[in-house]
């Protein structure tokens, strides 16, 4: 939703009609379809959304706080000051990139991993917007289409995982361990 609002804001500033099309496309794919697929999956397999992690909660929070601090540190100034006026927003987007990456690695649930990957992608897009690195409309459509196909494929895989392993916990996948 935040991504959609940010692109809509770009449309209001530029008046570029093609951006409005991207807004609609992003809204349909990321705000409507992605949650719809997740909810349908949860309903279909009667799973309750939970986010079991490898690290315990206090340690997870410490790492998240550290990553946020790192993203705001002076070391990353060249990255967060691409548009100097957006420094704090870019730092926020950068911390979101680092945190979503950590969450994918830390979480055990396949559904959580999907949400992690989508958050990761969204945070990169947000960083791009705050840094003035938006792409052409054609490429944005390509990227959204790519994400849309990714959502469908990962959803199908979730169903397959549940069917074969009886759980969405990826630690139950032990067939390939030698």
């Amino acid at each position: 939703m935040v991504v959609t609002i940010l692109i809509f804001d770009s449309y209001l500033k530029t008046g570029n009609l093609s951006l409005l099309f991207i807004v609609l496309l992003t809204f349909v794919v990321k705000v409507i379809l992605a949650p719809l697929f997740s909810l349908r999956l949860m309903k279909q397999h009667q799973v309750v959304f939970s986010a079991p992690t490898y690290l315990n909660t206090p340690l997870t929070f410490i790492i998240i706080a550290t990553l946020t601090a790192v993203a705001h540190s002076q070391k990353f100034y060249p990255l967060t000051t691409i548009i100097p006026a957006h420094q704090s927003l870019s730092a926020l987007a950068l911390s979101l990139i680092l945190i979503s990456f950590f969450l994918i690695v830390n979480r055990k649930g396949a559904l959580s991993q999907i949400i992690g990957v989508l958050t990761f992608e969204n945070s990169i897009v947000i960083f791009g917007i705050f840094s003035g690195l938006e792409q052409s409309v054609a490429l944005q459509i390509g990227i959204i289409f790519d994400i849309f196909v990714w959502i469908i494929i990962s959803t199908v895989f979730i169903s397959m995982i549940y069917k074969h392993f009886g759980s969405l916990d990826v630690t139950s996948m032990i067939d390939l361990r030698d």
């Binding site: 991993q113 960083f127 490429l139 067939d175």
Partner: protein, 481 residues
Amino acid sequence: MEIIFIIGSYILASLTIILFRRQRNIAKATSVVVSIFAFIESMKVALKVASTGAYSFMFFSVDALGAIVMLIIAVIGIVTTIYSLQYFIQEKAKNIIGSTRIKQYFVLLSLFFAAMFLAVTSNSPILSWIAIEGTTLSTAFLISLYNKSSAIEAAWKYLIINSIGLLLGFFGTLLYFIPVTSLLENGGLITWQVLATNAVHLNPLISKIAFIFVLIGYGTKVGLVPMHTWKPSAYTKAPAPLGALLSGALLPVAFTIILRFKLITDTTIGPIFGQNLLIGFGLISIVFVSFVILALNNYKRLLAYSSIENAGMIALGFGFGKAGIMAALLHTIYHSLVKSSLFLSSGNILLKYHSARLKDVRGVIKALPLTAICFTIGFLAITGTPPFGMFLTKILIMTAGIKNYPIVSVIILLSTALLFIGFFKHTSAMIFGEKPEGVQSGEISIWLVIPQILLLGIFIILSFYIPPFLQKLLNDVVTQY
């Protein structure tokens, strides 16, 4: 136009197979015809680039490196497609797979080829990224084709790890766009050429960060250590012809993207940073595999780890600079041909022994004489045994590094020796020894052997003779990179 024809024909092929799904042989016939067509068109592109240099039109551009990789995809494509026909006939006869799955295979295979061709020929880094992501999406279901728990596990691992890797690559790609102003005013399509022109204005620190992200991102697709973890599982569970394609065709495609970004990074901060990173990842990959290889218990895993080692060797060659680039390029071509042949051999062995475990496979020379010979030649070639071309490329790569990186070269030499011992131990046990009772002697089908012989034949010819047009392309790449 050739590129549009190639990509268009593959997309058309996949649509044809979907539309005429009730026609039994349409999938097979279409796939073979299109792969032959793609080979002819790729050859035309290669000859054109060799004679007139790099060219671009619309959203595409082909340089010498792109032309070489197109040829690799086309050659491996035609051979694996022919192999796939007979391979799935045999698997269907054994009730391993059904007709619907086979059709799905050919549909996704066509899309996979289209995505690979698009990735190397697109003139936009973002379009290349979309295409590389397309290769992940099209092959995920191919890895889980047999619908077994282990195959689904491997495919999930492949999907998640590669998606994360490619998102890192996407982030790195975006960072290269910083010096290019007014993106949307220019139609927004940032080409490789535009990036190269503007690279001098890129902040050196951002350039370094961007290249690290790109190398980790696309390096995941290449399978460099420590981003390699999806590779052994995916290669083991994928159908044999897909293993050949992942290792023989997709690896050079992903490496091409890394090299294009390295060229841009070099303009900003000089070549040393990129070279050191490539040497670091290459060295870790080779050393890691040399320690793991003796403990392996699955011959498809053995080939997967060998692929990681060779990716490391290619990275080292490019890392060692001008002197190593020619050797790295030749190594890429040789590796694609030999490794694909080895994967096809592994498919024959799997069909005969019904097991991928090394301890279950003994006496291949009696059970599958021609396959055993091909596998042995492949093993000797891939481990760098003389007189094959890979012996020369490995020596040249090490020689290129001996002056500036003597310790690295010595470590590589020792690791290569360990790798040979490991590979030799497993291969000799498989080829010789007592054939298990119940395993019939004789090749399953000559059409499962011809593709291997073709690949090895091309490899042996190229070991001793490089056609003038290919030599010109290789020289152009060395000059450019």
